[in-house]
């Protein structure tokens, strides 16, 4: 016997043994009572399916009778949903639409800000400084000329002290 034929024999023997194992697995007996368990499961599922499919036990027999009831039920559902929707809609007070929209002014961004109005990336913010002292309302020109001379503060001097203010008012009364 040549090596190849011995090899073939070994291979076929191995395959036959393997098939025997598969046949052994395939012929294993089923556990006892499997039929009863399966039947019980099927019956339970059938009962559940019937409850789910109520009130249509058969597909052909009462289709025409039931279709009218279905249509009525569908119409009732549509009516209830639409009525509810209308009730909600009619009770909603719609807020008035503003006629103008407040937008930030460009000037607020500072001199360099805004560019062409598209971006504020290069904006420099100018801090708001405190207001200086309020200048008292000056006397009218007529009164000032009548007086002849006034104690005007030097040019560029905006602020006047309280004493100066009171002096000026006394002079004006005279």
């Amino acid at each position: 016997m040549s090596f190849s034929s011995q090899n073939d024999l070994g291979r076929s023997t191995g395959a036959i043994e393997a098939e025997e194992t598969l046949r052994l697995v395939a012929s294993l007996p089923a556990p006892r009572g499997i039929e009863d368990r399966v039947k019980a499961g099927v019956r339970a599922a059938d009962r559940q399916a019937r409850v789910m499919s109520w009130p249509l036990p058969s597909e052909k027999a009462r289709w025409t009778q039931v279709s009218g009831i279905r249509a009525a039920a569908a119409a009732a559902i549509v009516f209830v949903v639409a009525g509810g929707g209308w009730g909600v809609y009619s009770h909603i007070r719609v807020a008035s639409v503003p006629t103008a929209v407040a937008a930030p002014q460009r000037g607020e961004l500072g001199a360099g800000g805004g560019g062409a109005g598209m971006s504020a990336a290069a904006a420099r913010r100018t801090p708001k400084t405190l207001d200086g002292p309020v200048v008292a309302p000056e006397a009218s020109t007529k009164q000032r000329t009548a007086e002849g001379k006034t104690n005007l503060p030097p040019h560029g001097h905006r602020a006047g002290s309280a004493a100066e203010k009171s002096r000026a008012s006394v002079a004006a009364q005279r």
């Binding site: 291979r11 191995g14 395959a15 039929e35 058969s58």
Partner: protein, 186 residues
């Protein structure tokens, strides 16, 4: 009157369907279990698969009269179920399946040593079968069922009979190769 008649007719028809289904369970449950077990190698999983197969039949009971061969039809249903389950439960370690297989293999008339050797051999063979390509493995497993002819295997797998034969030939060669040189494939 018409409604009452149709209700009676429906009820009797339903009862007839139930009886037909129960007869099918009596007749084919064990065959389906063996088919399921050959793939899943777990008793409870196999029983679940049989249950699921009959629930599918229940859903299509209106068309039962149109089925020519109930046995092949049922085997095809359970075959698809177990393949699907096998794919989904791939995370389970293979050793669990083999341990379950060793537990259920018959060992009457064997000494403890012989039994251990037989279990080892069967485990090795099944591990080699697992290494076969899916198409060849499926044909090989179904061909182990003596009640299934090549025509019926072709019907279960939805292929031609010649395809079944060629796959079986390839499977036998590959399996023999694997048993001689376990690392020769893949």
């Amino acid at each position: 009157m018409d409604i009452v008649e149709s209700a009676v007719h429906d009820e009797s028809r339903q009862r007839a369907q139930e009886e037909a289904l129960e007869a099918m369970v009596d007749q084919y449950a064990t065959t389906l279990f063996r088919v399921a077990f050959s793939v899943l190698r777990n008793q409870s999983d196999a029983e679940d698969a049989v249950q699921e197969a009959f629930l599918r039949v229940l859903r299509h009971r209106e068309t039962l009269g149109e089925i020519r061969d109930h046995r092949v039809w049922l085997i095809r249903i359970v075959w698809n179920i177990v393949l699907d389950r096998k794919r989904r439960t791939k995370t389970r370690p293979e050793t669990d399946d083999l341990a379950e297989l060793a537990r259920v293999l018959p060992a009457s008339g064997l000494t403890a040593e012989e039994r251990a050797a037989a279990v080892q051999h069967h485990t090795h063979v099944m591990a080699c079968v697992e290494k076969l390509p899916a198409r060849e493995r499926e044909v090989m497993m179904l061909s182990a069922f003596e009640e299934l002819s090549s025509v019926e295997i072709a019907a279960v797998l939805d292929v031609t009979e010649s395809s079944v034969r060629s796959r079986l030939f390839r499977a036998r060669n590959l399996l023999a190769e694997l048993l001689q040189h376990p690392r020769s494939i893949r």
